[in-house]
């Protein structure tokens, strides 16, 4: 089902739903764009591309309370965290960040369901947006995602004129939302087809296609756990967590007891799940043993996890081509350069396929 909505009506719609939903949308503060809960429509900063920070923190926060505890006279009392059950709408997520939810879903919903994550997924309506122009560093088309992919969205907005969006009602949830607020939408003209706006850059981007072949990369990784390329590329890696923290699919975490307050013979505290990164030395470090003692091993883990281990386990890759790691790395490590080199090496080792 497709409908139309004007920018004015979208504004009215959002202002209306702000009274009954938490609305999360792209904003820009300190020259950094990110998703944030807004209180008025005007806070939204519509940009052509992905915000610097991905929306993953709204499903898997940098720090989540797992449960609280209170110890009194050797008696432990456990309490569930005050959970986020408010209905939420996240507005303006792009197809790549939406595709990233597939990866998080596999991890957190399968084989031992993470209730926190699943509650946040269930109580969120996702109004996504297709891309009219590629971001400077994007490469979604190289990892099998289209800039107008509507997967995981409930509704998808597509620019068709300056102030008019085509609205694709994708899911049942989206349909329910639409029928509740149908007065804000108008019928799409069946004969007119409504061509989405595409910049010249987008046309070129789509024409160029994939920069590398994920299958070839995967096969090469199968055979090249040991290879000089790892230390060559990772030599300049400083071991910070920028690439992993800004990645919409990276999901590794630590568990830690925090906010522990002692009073007389009793104490209370909270156990938290906290973002962690395979780039950090302490990630795998045990008191007597460190299986990944050097940065090249940690760097290899990141590439292997995305383009081999995750595929081995879940039959899908764990990179959505959003390009954030490329643009934010403080020392200019470029995953495209890495993948293109691997792509070339795979041709060298197997001949032209």
């Amino acid at each position: 089902m497709t409908k139309l909505i004007s920018r004015d009506n979208l504004k009215k719609l959002i202002s209306k739903v702000l009274t009954s939903f938490q609305v999360i949308a792209p904003v820009n503060e300190n020259n950094v764009s990110f998703f944030k809960r807004i209180s008025v429509y005007e806070q939204i900063k519509w940009e052509d591309n992905n915000p610097t920070k991905s929306p993953k923190e709204f499903f898997f926060a940098p720090s989540d309370d797992l449960f609280r505890y209170q110890m009194k006279n050797k008696n432990i009392l456990l309490r569930e965290p005050s959970n986020h059950h408010d209905q939420r709408i996240i507005l303006g997520i792009r197809p790549c960040d939406m595709a990233a939810l597939n990866i998080l879903d596999r991890v957190f919903l399968e084989d031992g369901k993470d209730l926190l994550y699943s509650a946040l997924r269930d109580n969120t309506l996702l109004i996504g947006q297709s891309c009219r122009t590629p971001g400077k560093y994007c490469f979604c088309s190289s990892v099998g995602i289209n800039p107008d992919d509507s997967q995981n969205m409930d509704l998808m907005l597509t620019d068709i004129e300056k102030n008019l969006f085509l609205v694709k009602v994708v899911s049942e949830k989206g349909e329910k939302f639409f029928s509740h607020f149908s007065s804000f939408f108008q019928e799409a003209d069946a004969t007119n087809g409504h061509t989405p706006v595409q910049t010249k850059e987008m046309v070129d981007y789509l024409k160029r296609g994939a920069l590398f072949n994920v299958q070839n990369i995967n096969e090469w990784l199968n055979e090249n756990f040991e290879h000089p390329i790892w230390s060559e590329i990772a030599a300049k890696c400083i071991g910070c967590g920028v690439c992993t923290f800004f990645c919409p699919t990276c999901h590794c975490f630590d568990i830690s007891d925090e906010n522990v307050v002692y009073r007389d013979s009793s104490f209370q505290g909270v156990r938290r799940r906290i973002w962690d990164s395979c780039s950090f030395d302490h990630f795998t470090k045990m008191p007597m043993h460190q299986p990944r003692p050097t940065q090249d091993r940690r760097f290899r883990q990141r590439i292997m996890h995305k383009f081999k281990y995750f595929i081995d386990r879940f039959q899908q890759g764990a990179c959505v081509g959003c390009g954030r790691c490329r643009s934010l790395c403080p020392v200019g490590i470029d995953i495209i350069e890495v993948l293109e080199r691997i792509h070339c090496l795979s041709y060298q080792s197997h001949g032209v396929k």
């Binding site: 797992l66 432990i76 369901k113 993470d114 630590d254 522990v260 795998t284």
Partner: protein
């Protein structure tokens, strides 16, 4: 539906001081329903919580045949283990588990078993040894080669004595050179070297080994040269873990998560793994 990160409350029932820095804790469920429902298999592990400190991963060192309690053997090393060593009988501890796979005990039936342990690495083997001893007639010859850095570092001393006195176990104990004391009646030498001097037949037998990574490495080499096939060698691997559920992403060796696909691996499987453990 339950919160997968929330532990069950257990009460410390007994504490055994094994060595100056190793203690064994016997834990009982606070909830009697949980206690009667709880089952596990030898080789599995759990996440033990010290509220206010955090969680740590230990294998279950008691036998699944002995119901009503679990035991864990803990070396004092980090934040959680240090705090754990300060606990007394009656104190609560959180437990999540059992997690991971287990020793293939059904496939071991009718076979001669060779256990090769080093230091605190005897703990997971102990679970299986005791399991096998409770079902003694199901298994062939049982050989246990156990070594540690010094006499003081031998764990389960009481049990070692009992095993020694049983007629149906061949127990060989050794300590690293320099670790012996004047009363020491066992052998002196590193486990992989001692192993070469005793006759171990690969015929209808399975070797199970656990200990420091370097010991495991040389033990496997030794077994290999004695004609043990890769599927006849079983070990447990250790990686840093946080969730135990295959989610937190840190215990992988190649595509395997040690917490889900391990900790028990055959050498045939390990051979396929990237060298990063």
């Amino acid at each position: 539906m339950e919160n997968i990160y929330q532990p069950h409350i257990m009460i410390i029932d007994d504490i055994t001081v094994e060595t100056p820095d190793v203690k064994t804790f016997r834990l009982k469920f606070q909830d009697s329903k949980l206690e009667s429902d709880f089952t596990f298999k030898a080789g599995q592990f759990g996440q033990y919580s010290l509220f206010g400190e955090g969680e740590a991963t230990f294998c279950i060192a008691s036998s699944p045949t002995r119901k009503g309690y679990i035991e864990c053997t803990v070396k004092r090393a980090g934040k959680v283990t240090n705090a754990m060593h300060k606990l007394d009988v009656g104190d609560p501890i959180g437990f999540r588990g059992p997690y991971g796979n287990w020793f293939p005990i059904d496939q071991l039936k009718g076979k001669d078993l060779i256990f090769i342990g080093g230091g605190i690495g005897l703990a997971p083997l102990r679970s299986l040894i005791r399991n096998c001893l409770d079902l003694r007639e199901d298994f062939g010859k049982i050989t246990i080669l156990y070594g540690s850095r010094s006499v003081a570092d031998l764990v389960y001393k009481q049990e070692l004595k009992e095993w020694e006195n049983r007629g149906d176990i061949n127990l060989i104990q050794t300590v690293d050179p320099g670790g012996e004391d004047s009363d020491w009646k066992g052998l002196t030498g590193f486990v992989p070297l001692v192993m070469r001097d005793i006759y171990l037949s690969s015929d209808n037998s399975v070797a199970l080994t656990c200990g420091p990574p370097i010991m495991i490495k040389f033990v496997i080499q030794g077994l290999d040269s004695m004609g043990f096939s890769p599927t006849q060698i079983i070990t447990t691997l250790e990686m840093k873990m946080k969730c135990g559920l295959g989610k937190c992403g840190r215990c992988n060796i190649g595509k395997y998560y040690v917490c889900k696909d391990g900790p028990v691996f055959t050498y045939a499987q390990i051979y396929e793994l990237p060298n990063e453990f």
